[in-house]
Every structure is written in C-alpha cells, then in structure tokens.
C-alpha cells in the first residue's frame, strides 16, 4: 500500500493550484413567501461545495470557476437547479410538497438520486435519532425502520441488542448488518459471545462506541442489491452512518452547539406477587427454603418450630414472643430475631432510579475551502440495579479541505472510551432473590453477611445464588473498551471533457480497539465457594484501504452513464487473552494473584479480505435507470482453492411519472417501480483440524472440576469441532421488487417492497451425532428462505402555516423458514439449556424454542394423569421434547406521529410486535417458588384444563383444604418439568418514544439559539407476557430476545434535553 500512497502524494504535489472564484448569495423562500431555514445550496458541478440557508433564509456561497449551476433543495420541497449565468444574487422560491430529486447515500458513500435505485433504502435524520436522547444507537432506531427487527436484551447499562434486517441468513453466525462510519467499515457486534447464555453476564456490542449525538444521518441499505458492492461482509445489509462534519453549514463563523440530556430510568414492569403465604413447603414454614409454599404469613407466630406463640426451642430460649416469629437470618445478622409478620415487596425495595447524564459539545464550521466539526461527549449512567452503570467518553473530529480545483482531502476520527458495570443473569442470576424472595422475608432489611465476616452470606435460601445485596460489593462484571476509528482520504476530480467527469479517491482507515472484561464471583460467593475470576479481552486492529475511480458521462441529453471501479483491502489482527483463577486465599482481594489455581490462554488470529469491484449505472431520460455491480472477493479465512468469489447485482428502476401521459395527473405526484437481483455471500472460518487441551465445563459443573495442567501434566486431544476442507462460501440470492407512490403533492406516500432471499450452503458447525466421535463439523449445509414485505408510508393530513401533522408508518413482515439442514441434521443449538433450548430446526421458522411439551392426545388436548390416589392424579404429564415456540413475530408495525405547532412539536413512536414466542424462565420459576400472583389462591379446588387418557374432559378435582399439597405439586413438581409451560406469546405494544420539543424561533440572546425537549421512552406497555417486560432476555447471539431466565429488567425512562447553539 505504501507505493500507492507515495504515487498519490507525487500526483498531488505535481498539480497546480487552481483559482478563480466568485460569491453568489440570495434568499430561499417557499411558495408562500416564508423564508426557508436550513435549505441546501450546492454547486452542481462541485458537489462538495455547498451551504445551507441561515435563519433568515439567506445563503452565501463561493462558487469556483466552472461552477455554472446551483442546486437548491429543502426537505418536502421540490429541488431546483438554477443557472448562475454570471449573477451574484440568485433568489429562489421552492414549491412545497415535491421531492422528486431526493438524494440518498448508497454503497461506498455514493450519493444518488433516490429515483434511480432499484432497491429500497431508508434514511434516518439526526433529529429522528436524537428524539429522546437515547445514548444507545440501536435503541434509538427502534420502531423507525421497515424490514428491521431490533431486539434489546435488557435495560442494563451497555446491554447488547440484536439488529437484523429482513430476517436471518446465518444460523449461528453473524446476522448483523455491516456498519460503515464516514466510509469506513467498523466492528459493531459483540466481541465475545455469551455462548449458551445461561451463565455470566451479557456482553455489549461495539455499536455502543458510537455516540448518537455525533451522527448527522443514517442510511440503511437493506437488501443485498443495495449492499452487494461491499461483498462478503454485506450479506446482512449495511448501516451507513455519516457523522457531523460541518459540510452542510453556511460559510461563516464556527457554530458551537451544546446539548445536555438528563434521563431517569425505572423498572418498566413489576411482577405481581402473591402476598399471603410465607416461605416454606407444603404449608410448613421453612426459613431456608427457596419456595413460598409455607403457611399464611399471618400464621407465622403459630408455627410449631419458629412461632413466638408456641412452645419450641426458640421460645424456650427467649420466652414466648406473642405475635412474632423467629427469623434465623436475623439472628445470624446479630439482630433481634423476632419479627412481627409483615409482607415485603423485595422487588420494589431493591431497584433504584437510574440516572443518565449526557453532555455533548460540538464545534462546526464551514469555510470557503472546506469544513470541520469537532465533538466531545460524556455519558454517565447509573443503572436501576445496584452497582451497575456506564461511563462513556467520545471525541470526534472530521473535516474536509479543498486544495485546488482538482484535489481535496478529508478525515474523520473517532475516539471512545467506555466502562460498564453489569450484573449476571440466568443460572448466575444476581437478581434471583429480588425476584423470588418470599414475601415474608425482608431481603433489604436483613444483613447480607455475618457481622464481621463480609464473605459469609446470610440469605433466605441455599447456595445456588448470591444474595442480591451482597453482589455489588463482591461480584463484578465489567467491560472496559478504548477505541479509535477513523480514516483519511484524498480525492482527485477532473473534467475529461465537457460531458465527462472523473473522480479518483483513495482512503485509508483504521479501526482499533482493546476491550477488557472481568467476570468475578467473589470470595464467599454461592454457598461459600472461594470465588472465581476471569480476566479476558481482545485487541483488534483493522486496516482498511479503499481506492475508487468514478466516471460520470452525460452521453447526450437522454443518456447518462456512471461507472465506478474500485479496490478494497481489509486486514484484521486479533489477539485474545484469558486468565482464569479459582480458589481465592482470602476475601476482599478478588484478584488473579489471590487465586490458588490459575490458568491462562491466548489466541492470535489474522484475516484479510481483498475485493475488486465495479459499478455501472445507465439512465435514460431520468425515467429508466439500470444499475449493474460486480465484486470479486479474496478471503483468507477460507480453505485454499475456495477463497475467491464473485458477486453480481442488477437493478432496474422505472419512474412512471416521467411518462408524458402521467406527468399532468394532479393527484399523483410520483410513481416508480423497481426491481433488483443480487447475490452476496458470507465467508466462514476454516482451520486445519487441530488438537487442544480439553476443558471440563458445563453440565452439572459450576466451575471446572478438572483443570489442566493437572499437577504439571498437560494433555491434548483432537478438537471435537472439525473442519471440512471443501468449505465454500454461503450464498444469498436475493430478488426484490418495489413500488413507490406519492399522492396529492406528496402529502401521502407509500413505499412497498417485496423481497425474497434464498440462502444456500450455510456455513456452520453442523452438529454431529455424538456417536461419530466429534461434536460438530464446520461445513456447508442448510438453506434458509426469507420472504419479506415492507411498507413505509407517510401522510401529512394537516399542513398549514402554523400547524402540521405528520404520520409515518413502518411495517415489517418477515417469514424466515429453515428449508434444510445438512444431511442427518435436524436442528442446531443456538443457546439455552439441554432443554429448553433455542435452535434452528428444519421446516420451522428461525429460530424456535425446543423443549419438553405437555403430553397431548391426537386432538392436541393436554392429557392428565388418571390414577386416583397418585400424587399427580389429574395433573398434566411430560410429553416428548419438541418445538414449543416460534420466536419470529408475525409482523412488526412502527408508527411515528408528529404534531408541530409553530416551534412546538410533539412526537410519538409506537411499536407493535405481533406474534412470536419466548421462554420466560422467571415466570415459570415464580410459579414454582409459589411467589407469583397465580399461586395466591390456595384454598379453592382446581381442575386442570385437559382431557383424561380416555378422551373425556378432565373432571378430577384437586386442591382445597382436603388436598393441600396438590397445588404445590402442580406448580413445583409437574408444570416446572414441562418446558412448554414456560413458553409465552410475546406480542407487545410499546409507546417507545414520546417527545415534546420547543425551539425558540429567534436567538434568545445575541446569537444564542435554544431548543428544549421533554421526553419519555418505553412509556406504555401492553404485553401478552405476564409480569415481565418481554424485551428482557438472555444472550447476545441469534437466540437474542427469545430466552428469559432471571434476566435483568427493562426500563422506562423520563428525561429532558437542552440544546444551546451559538
């Protein structure tokens, strides 16, 4: 690459500096005469030179020699081109409601007219992103895009989210789009997988490093046709992010903008608990039980063993304690052990109000020869759960400078530093006690450790989980990341002749980060274990080189041709380290140096992608557009001989309203049909079969029972994951058709897209039958088929001088079906337990939940045991393990509604997710523990809905005072063994965002402009799932959003923002 840079430098210095400019200024108004603020004025011949109108609608622009035409554009108005003809003042009135020449950003940042595209793209403005001051970029996009499903894992600071466009293409691999920031592809997904996602803490995604406040706009390239130019990395679509650069500003003095957001978080949904019954089992009080199947709380003083009203060992010691009962944990804590029965809500006692304080400062300026923007941001969050929080610092700079008529240079640089404190979930549930502590137990008021010994816990139950109040001081789940990414470019542009323009651009970029994670269960964790520590991290350095040449040729007045050729090289080196320690010598120093058993590992890996690509676009009369792309990639991570692949795409767009017959139809403003075909693949990772030191994890073991080296002796066995030397890239063939219609001067619009993807030869670790001797084989196998319908619609029902009502709707329906898996494979494990688990299964949508079902008869009715006298008489039975839930929703409908009155605007974003299932471990376990409200009535009899084996409806009456054990047996011993009982529909409707904003029309003081907003997120929730917010789940993998078990709760946020600009 060095040679290329050198040649380019030589090239640059050999060019003479061209001069000769004049200033053109004027006023832009709409057709009612109102001045337009922020209208864009660009020199057509020099697209990099432009400005926007100021508060009075004025602009002033230095037009270089050769600049003949100005292009004026403003959202919701017709773009117009005016020839300068030597004038120094050009005033213009733009007519409202026509957006014929909307410009969108496409692959490699190429701006193209939206009408020329044969595929769907969707853009988000900075205002849409920053509506409610969300610090999380992915969260800020929820509900605002069609064809996209964004699934957050929880409300914990830094929680991961799944971002999937038009369904999944990979079973176990990456389904997230490629993120490209200012032309540079960057890492956006989680650097470490949560694996089976039933232990440890969530691990955040690297999109977290992007501060939404730095963003100017986002363009989503959804289909493969849109992203095909990016080759192997782009089968999942592309998210193009443009950060603030000062480009759109008018030439003048620097604009300084300061934004503050304060956001307050609360738990979005509180479970309904039973509040009648105490800790215990089968009606008997047991102060150490995890269950609340004890006596009535009010009867505790009469308990024969612990009651203050009865004669027992404790009253023998202390004397009668009328109306009280003995709590051993209080005795352990050195407090008066006698308590009057009381009902506690340990859930609400625990959570605090989270607070996020965000401050952003941005300085931007456009000068005659370029522009720059510098931004600083600080985000400081404390979570709703004790000890959780996030601090993030962002700094960015971007700029561009025109050196002469031909050369311009620019750069974009971003730095971020984050520190996140998390909590663990599922089998390591930090909040298990908070969720399921008996109502009779005062979790908050009882000491969490023995006085004087902070490492011996006091808890209401046995040792599988830590006391939630002990956790913040002893366990630690932390992520710290430092990251820099940025790029610099040099651009050379020249007119080859009057109708032919050439642009050559070279860009070099880098994305470097180091992330350090620490998982610690402190000394004294879980049944007085001596603790476990794991320090691990990744340093990644990515170098990206991109060279491209663009030729635009106006062949004649009807025909135009644009051709691009390019080369890209992406080189990544990763180093992962891991230090594991167990068995601390003493408490209070949870450090690897205090661990008696220490193991370490490291891994270094490298990968390189080289691509050659080309694009040709031909248009006729601004009516028909044909676009063809091709890219050939060479990928190091594939086996020799199978590293080179070619990906073509073709797109056609036909603007019907350019037809003479349709040009004068009043009610139809715009009509276009489009279609495209593309192929894009995804590469896998191939390695020669190797040996490794075995690890003893999983199953019953909470920590490895055998850790090599054992007494200085090591061992290596064949890796149970083997590799197919004939691995080839998986391929996605995509067909997309769409129509775009706008009516009544663009007051109403509809954009529909149908797309079909056929993904074949998926690469994944194909699970093998254990009897083959290996666990899995990395090979091609399997097909997934996706049909997606997307509708983007907008309407402006009311628009007058002061009041405007805008509606935007995004509808997504994705059918994602697993057509086949490799021979002999019926399912692929994605996460969870042995059962229930999340998996991909043939003939099902992707993914599904698999587990033990209710035993049913041929009619699908639940069978109950008919065995009088048996403990489970009249109760359901465990059936065969099978698919018990489909995760994909039937559809997602997002709606944005904005009322604007003068400078006041009220915006709401609503999202309705319809259908789909999730596993809710917490709900099932609340039932098992006898803590959910459904277990409140223990005196009535019940008949379990179902049929007896003979087919007659179940009429077996159980429960009631004569049969007191039956209800506990049902919930604790029968239903909890049936995974299907834990499956819930997870349809929901959420008021995701609500924002009331006011911008002062005029500067309040000299040049100071102020905007304020009040907002709320996740404000209203209707959910088919009981007790929990359905957007709390386990895992940062493809199982995301479908599996919940002591997961951390989701939040509702309220906040305000202030923006000062001067």
């Amino acid at each position: 690459m060095k040679q290329v840079l050198f040649i380019l430098l030589v090239l640059m210095s050999s060019m003479s500096m061209a001069v000769g400019q004049r200033i053109v200024s004027g006023v832009v108004t709409d057709n009612s005469g109102e001045t337009l603020i922020g209208a864009s004025v660009v020199v057509k011949e020099f697209p990099a030179i432009g400005t926007i109108t100021d508060i009075d609608g004025r602009y002033s622009l230095r037009v270089p020699e050769g600049g003949e035409t100005l292009v004026f554009s403003y959202t919701g108005h017709t773009t117009q081109e005016i020839a300068i003809n030597g004038q120094s003042s050009v005033n213009i009135s733009l007519s409202a409601g026509q957006v014929l020449n909307e410009v969108v950003v496409t692959a490699f940042g190429i701006s193209r007219e939206s009408k020329s595209l044969g595929y769907a793209v969707q853009g988000l403005s900075d205002e849409e992103i920053k509506l409610t001051g969300n610090k999380d970029l992915l969260g800020a996009m929820q509900g605002k895009l069609a064809g996209v499903d964004i699934k957050p894992s929880s409300g914990m600071p830094g929680a991961s989210s799944q971002f999937v466009i038009r369904g999944a293409r990979s079973f176990t691999g990456n389904n997230s789009p490629l993120f490209v920031v200012d032309g540079l592809p960057i890492s956006s997904t989680s650097t470490f997988s949560t694996g089976n996602s039933v232990t440890g803490a969530d691990i955040g995604g690297r999109s977290l490093d992007i501060d939404p406040a730095d963003i100017e706009s986002i363009d989503i390239l959804k289909g493969q046709a849109a992203s095909a130019l990016y080759g192997v990395r782009a089968s999942n679509g592309v998210v193009l992010i443009t950060t603030k650069s000062g480009k759109g500003l008018g030439v003048g003095k620097p604009i300084i903008s300061f934004t503050h957001n304060s956001t307050f978080d609360q738990v979005s949904r509180n479970p309904n608990f039973q509040t009648t019954y105490a800790q215990g089992s089968y009606g008997a009080y047991n102060p150490n039980a995890s269950t609340s199947w004890g006596p009535k709380i009010s009867d505790l003083p009469n308990d024969p063993t612990y009651g203050g009203n009865t004669d027992n060992a404790f009253t023998a010691q202390y004397g009668r304690q009328e109306g009280k009962f003995y709590v051993p944990q209080l005795a352990q804590g050195g407090l008066d052990p006698w308590r009057t029965p009381e009902v506690f809500n340990n859930w609400t006692d625990y959570f605090q109000t989270g607070y996020t304080n965000q401050n952003n400062l941005n300085v931007s300026q456009a000068t005659q020869n370029g522009n720059y923007s510098i931004g600083f941001g600080i985000t400081d969050q404390s979570g709703i759960a004790l000890g959780t929080g996030m601090t993030r610092y962002n700094a960015k700079a971007a700029g561009e400078r025109k050196l002469n008529n031909h050369f311009s240079v620019g750069y974009s640089a971003n730095f971020s530093k984050s520190n996140i404190d998390k909590l663990s979930g599922a089998n390591d549930g930090s909040l298990t006690g908070v969720l399921a502590a008996p109502s009779s137990y005062d979790l908050k008021g009882t000491p969490n450790h023995i006085p004087g010994d902070p490492y011996r816990q006091i808890y209401f139950r046995g040792g599988s989980f830590d006391n939630s109040y002990w956790v913040p001081n002893n366990n630690k789940f932390n992520e710290q990341t430092d990251r820099f990414f940025g790029n610099a470019f040099v651009n050379y542009g020249t007119d080859l002749n009057d109708d032919m323009k050439l642009n050559i651009r070279y860009q070099a970029g880098t994305d470097n980060f180091t992330t350090h994670l620490q998982d610690i269960f402190g000394f004294g964790s879980r049944g007085n274990s001596k603790g476990v520590i794991s320090n691990y991290g990744l340093s990644r350095a990515t170098f990206n080189s991109l060279a491209s040449a663009n030729l635009d040729w106006n062949i004649n007045s009807d025909w135009q041709l644009g051709v691009m050729l390019g080369n890209e090289l992406n080189n990544t080196s990763d180093k992962i380290y891991e230090q594991n320690g167990t068995d601390f010598n003493f408490g209070g120093w949870n450090h690897i140096g205090n661990a008696n058993i220490q193991t370490a590992d490291e891994s270094q890996s490298f990968s390189r992608n080289v691509g050659f690509f080309g694009n040709a676009g031909l248009s006729w009369k601004s009516m028909i557009f044909l676009n063809v792309t091709g890219r050939n990639d060479y990928v190091s991570s594939m086996p020799r001989g199978n590293r080179s692949f070619f990906y073509p795409s073709v797109g056609l767009s036909f603007v019907l309203t350019e037809l003479p017959a349709l040009q004068n139809v009043d009610w139809l403003s715009y009509a276009k049909v489009r279609g495209s075909y593309a192929e894009v693949g995804q590469a896998g990772t191939y390695l020669e079969n190797y040996y490794l030191t075995p690890t003893y994890v999983g199953g019953f073991w909470l920590s490895p029972p055998v850790q090599y080296p054992v007494g200085g002796v090591n061992s290596y066995i064949p890796n149970s994951v083997q590799y197919d030397p004939n691995l080839k890239p998986q391929n996605t063939v995509s067909n997309e058709f769409g129509a775009e219609l706008k009516f009544f001067n663009n007051r109403l619009g509809l954009d529909y897209t149908y797309s079909k993807q056929d993904v074949t030869d998926q690469i994944f670790a194909v699970p093998l039958a254990g009897s083959t001797g290996a666990t899995s084989l990395v090979r091609n196998g399997g097909a997934i088929n996706t049909v997606a319908h997307e509708i983007m619609a907008f309407a402006t029902p009311v628009m007058n001088k002061n009041f405007r009502w805008d509606i935007g709707v995004n509808y997504t329906k994705v059918e994602n079906n697993v057509i086949e898996l490799a021979d002999g494979v019926e399912s692929i494990f994605l996460g969870g337990f042995v059962t229930p688990q999340v998996r991909a299964g043939v003939g099902n949508t992707f993914p599904v939940i698999y587990g033990s079902s209710f035993a049913r008869n041929q009619n699908g009715e639940i069978l109950v045991v008919d065995n009088p006298g048996a403990w489970n008489h009249g109760m359901p039975m465990v059936g065969a393990p099978q698919v018990i839930g489909e995760v994909s929703p039937k559809f997602i409908l997002g709606g944005t509604n904005t009322f604007s009155y003068k400078n006041l605007s009220l915006t709401s974003v609503i999202e309705w997710k319809n259908g789909g299932h999730m596993y809710s471990g917490s709900n099932g376990l609340l039932d098992l523990y006898g803590m959910s409200a459904v277990t409140e009535d223990r005196e009535s009899t019940f008949i379990y809905p179902g049929v007896k084996p003979d087919g007659t409806p179940n009429d077996i009456v159980r429960g009631g005072s004569e049969d007191p054990d039956a209800l506990q047996d049902l919930y604790a011993n029968v239903l909890t063994t049936i995974d299907e009982y834990f499956i819930h529909e997870n349809s929901f409707v959420k008021l995701r965002e609500l924002s009331l904003g006011y911008k002062f029309a005029k500067p309040v003081y000299k040049g100071l402009n102020i905007g304020v907003s009040l907002y709320a997120r996740n404000l209203l929730l209707w959910s088919a799932l009981r007790n929990m917010d359905p957007e709390s789940s386990q895992g940062n993998t493809n199982m995301g959003g479908s599996f919940e078990r002591f997961s951390l709760p989701q939040t509702t946020s309220y906040g305000f923002g202030v923006n000062l600009t001067f």
Partner: protein, 480 residues
C-alpha cells in the same frame, strides 16, 4: 497525466494481487494457537481422566446412584430421577455422557491408529495396549447402560453421519477382542519410552495395566452369565488381576485442579440425600459404616434419612454423604470388585470355602477405602454379621456386600449387577422405591440427544424414551 494514472492503477493491482495470493492468505490463516499433531502420550492422559472422572465417576454414576438407592435425589434433576418424572426417559439426560464416551473413544481410536502398524508410532505396543484396555472399558460401560449402540460405523466424523446400531452381543465380542489384543500387546517389548507421569492411573507400570485388563475380562465374563455361564473363566482372569488395593485401577484426585466428582456434585448442586433403603441394609447388619457414610446437612444437627421415591423436594434438610470428599478416588476397577467377582463365581460353582475367603478380602478392602477408614472393624464385622448371613444365603450376602461396598463411587457397577441378578432370577438386593413396583424401574439409560436428533437409527430405537422402563439389555434378558 494518463501515464500517471496507469502507474497508479497498475500499482494498485500489483499490490492487491500480491496481497491476496494463496500463499500469503495461507500464512495469514495459519493456526497459531493450536498444534495440528501431537504424540499419543499426550493424548492418552486425558483419555484416562475422562474414562475415570467423566464416564465412570460423573453423571452416569449420579443417576444410577439414585436408581440403586445409594442416594436419594432430593432436588431438581436428581429429584426427577427419584420420582421417575422426565429425566429417566429424556434423551437429554445422558447427552453429555453419551458424547463424552464417544469423544473419548475417538481419542482412543486416534491413539490406536497412531500406534498400530502403518501409524506414526508403529511399535508403541504398551500405549496401544493401554488404549485398547480403556477402549474396551468405555465401550462396555456404554453398552451396559444403553444396550445396542452404534459401534461398527461409529467414530467416523464427516464420513458416516448416521451410524447404525450394533447388537450388544457383537459389541461384547468386540470388548473381549480388544482386551485380548491388549493382553497380547502388553507382552511385547517396545522401544518407546514409558508414559511415566502422563499416566494418571499407573504411572507407566505395565504389569498393573495388564492386571487391569485381566480384571476387565473377569468383569465382562461375569456380566454375560445369564447368557453364558463361565465362572471358571471369571475366576481364572480374576486371579490374574489385582492382588491388593494398591494395584487397583483408580483415578486419584488432588482436590484442587482435579476434584472428585461426587464431592464436586455435592458442592455445585447438592441434589442428594441419605437413602433410607441403604440405611436399612446397614442398620440390620450393625454395619460400622452407618456412622461414617453420612453427615447432617449444613445448618442441621441430625442426619435425617430421605425416603426412597417420595422425599420432599428440599435442599439443606436430609443428611448428605460424608464420604464425598475432594480426593475420593474413582474406581475404574477396584480390588474389592475383583474379590467380589471371585466370591460370586465360587458361590455359583458351589465352592463356598473359596467364596468365603474372597468375600473376607472383599469386605475388608471395602471397609479400608480411603474415605471410609474402617479397616480395624472389618474382622469383627465379618465374623459377627457377614458370615452368619453368608452361611444362610451365600449369594445374597455376597451381592449385598458388593452393593454396600460400591457406595458411592461404583454405582454403575451396582446397577449392572442388579439388572443381571434380576435376569438370573436372583432378586437378592432389595430396593424400596415404590415406583419400581409400579413398573417404573429404569432398566437402562437413554441414548444421547445428539444421536436422537441427528441419527435416525438411534431415534427409531429411542422412540418416546419410555422404552427404558420396559426394554432390558441383551445380557439382562432383553432383545436390544
């Protein structure tokens, strides 16, 4: 101008083409983190640890321990096994064990291939013989618990995806063939160095390995006694096996980087309570072990014994094992088992004198286990309690003593003995779980889920999993 562009384009092409040549990309993709080949002495270490810890010592033993009423499952999966809900018939229950056994057999096969003719370590006869011995042990354990299993088409990843099931009879022939080969190979001389410290069982002592292989021959001949009685054969091989506990095939644990499975199961899960039926057997014999096998649950002061089949599902109430300690060894084949095999064979041959002698050695060894430590009480116990019972019903006492001796590390063997005795109409070990009378004694363990879901042959054999309650394995009088 044009020339410069040409240079730029040409330069770009050259650099790019070079940067993606196959050799360069090969080097970039080279695995820097793992070896692609290692010698058999470094592989076999884990084959031993897995054979002991995982296969003999862990899940299979935990569940059979519940079925055999060595322990009572009082929580979660173990409780479900106790009340025969879900776990006993679920394909997921033994999936980890199933995969571990096949994985370990694949490792052993890799060693055997390396050390056999044409392999990279041709002539490494002793390592070969050790691998054959362990493979025989693994394969027999698998078929003993699961019946007909894939073998002849197994262990070919990426070649055979759905191995067929082989008859247990054929598999048993294979077990004996492996052991015979091993015995022959132990006698060959080799230039390859001894395994030394890589050998976690015998530190490279080939004489002991040979005794182990002979002992396995005895065990597996006895196993098929319902089909084919050869008690002389059992005695003959047993006589060539261990002469004392110091020679037995056991995996020892250092308690830190390698922890005894039952102890680890207790600290990590705490799913077991003291068993009533085991307690009763000790109680009626005034067995000194009654005072050392259990201790009260943490936070309680008395050992509460859990009823078999219907305990309360609660942790921290019932007494727990006191012999689950961090260093309690796992026996792949114990010396006391050898003596019990002889005792049973002599009883069945009618040679009660020899039987008594073997029984004395067996019971003494059992009471002398490192985590029991009752050697000093053995003679008195034998004289006062065991021999009178032996005299009234020799087979019953031998088998019951064997059953007691197997608590708690050798539950798998206890389970195999129990099923064999049922087949031979010698129902001498009394189990109390009421589910057994209701037709819910699991006669076998389920196949692993990885095969049930991906191998049609195993799935058909598995059905809905209820076969475990009805279908006996071949050597126990069943058909598959």
């Amino acid at each position: 101008m044009r020339k410069i562009f040409n240079i730029v384009i040409f330069g770009l092409l050259i650099t790019s083409m070079w940067s993606c040549s196959e050799d360069v990309l090969d080097d970039i993709n080279r695995n820097r983190n793992n070896p692609t080949n290692v010698n058999s002495n470094l592989i076999i270490t884990d084959a031993m640890i897995t054979s002991g810890f995982t296969i003999t010592g862990s899940d299979l033993a935990f569940y059979t321990s519940v079925y055999m009423e060595h322990n009572v499952g009082i929580w979660n999966q173990s409780y479900n096994a106790e009340i025969r809900v879900g776990e006993p018939s679920s394909a997921t229950t033994f999936n980890n064990s199933w995969n571990a056994i096949y994985n370990n057999m694949y490792n052993l096969k890799t060693i055997i291939d390396k050390c056999s003719d044409g392999g990279s370590e041709e002539g490494n006869y002793h390592t070969l013989a050790i691998a054959q011995t362990l493979l025989a042990h693994n394969l027999a354990t698998l078929t003993d618990l699961m019946g007909d299993v894939p073998w002849s088409e197994a262990l070919q990843p990426g070649i055979v995806y759905t191995p067929k099931l082989d008859n247990q009879e054929d598999i048993y022939n294979e077990v004996h063939r492996l052991l015979d080969d091993a015995l022959a190979n132990f006698d060959k001389t080799t230039k390859f160095p001894s395994l030394g410290n890589q050998d976690f069982i015998y530190k490279g002592n080939i004489a002991n390995w040979k005794k182990f292989a002979n002992g396995l021959k005895a065990r597996y001949m006895m196993r098929t006694s319902f089909i084919n009685e050869d008690f002389d054969g059992v005695i003959s091989f047993a006589n060539k096996a261990f002469a004392s506990a110091s020679e037995q095939a056991q995996l020892t644990y250092n308690g830190t980087t390698m922890i005894s499975p039952f102890y680890k199961f207790f600290t990590d899960r705490n799913y077991f309570g003291a068993s009533q039926s085991l307690y009763n057997k000790l109680d009626e014999r005034n067995d000194p072990r009654i005072d050392v096998l259990w201790k009260p649950a943490a936070g309680t002061s008395e050992v509460e014994i859990a009823p078999n089949g219907n305990p309360v599902q609660v942790q921290g109430r019932y007494g727990v094992s006191a012999i689950s300690v961090p260093t309690a060894p796992t026996y792949l084949l114990s010396y006391h088992e050898i003596e019990f095999l002889k005792a049973e064979a002599y009883v069945r041959k009618g040679d009660l004198g020899s039987a008594e002698a073997s029984l004395r050695k067996a019971v003494t060894a059992a009471l002398s286990k490192s985590n029991i430590g009752l050697a000093s009480k053995a003679a008195e116990y034998l004289d006062n309690e065991v021999l009178p019972r032996f005299n009234s019903n020799p087979l019953a006492e031998v088998m019951n003593q064997k059953y007691l001796a197997f608590y708690e590390e050798e539950a798998i063997e206890a389970y195999c003995d129990y099923r064999r005795l049922l087949a031979m109409n010698d129902d001498v070990i009394k189990l109390d779980n009421p589910k057994n009378a209701a037709g819910e004694f699991p006669h076998r363990l389920t196949y692993g889920n990885s095969d049930v879901t991906t191998n049609i042959n195993v799935r058909n054999a598995y059905g809905d999993g209820r076969y475990v309650y009805t279908e006996k394995v071949w050597w126990a009088g069943g058909s598959r």
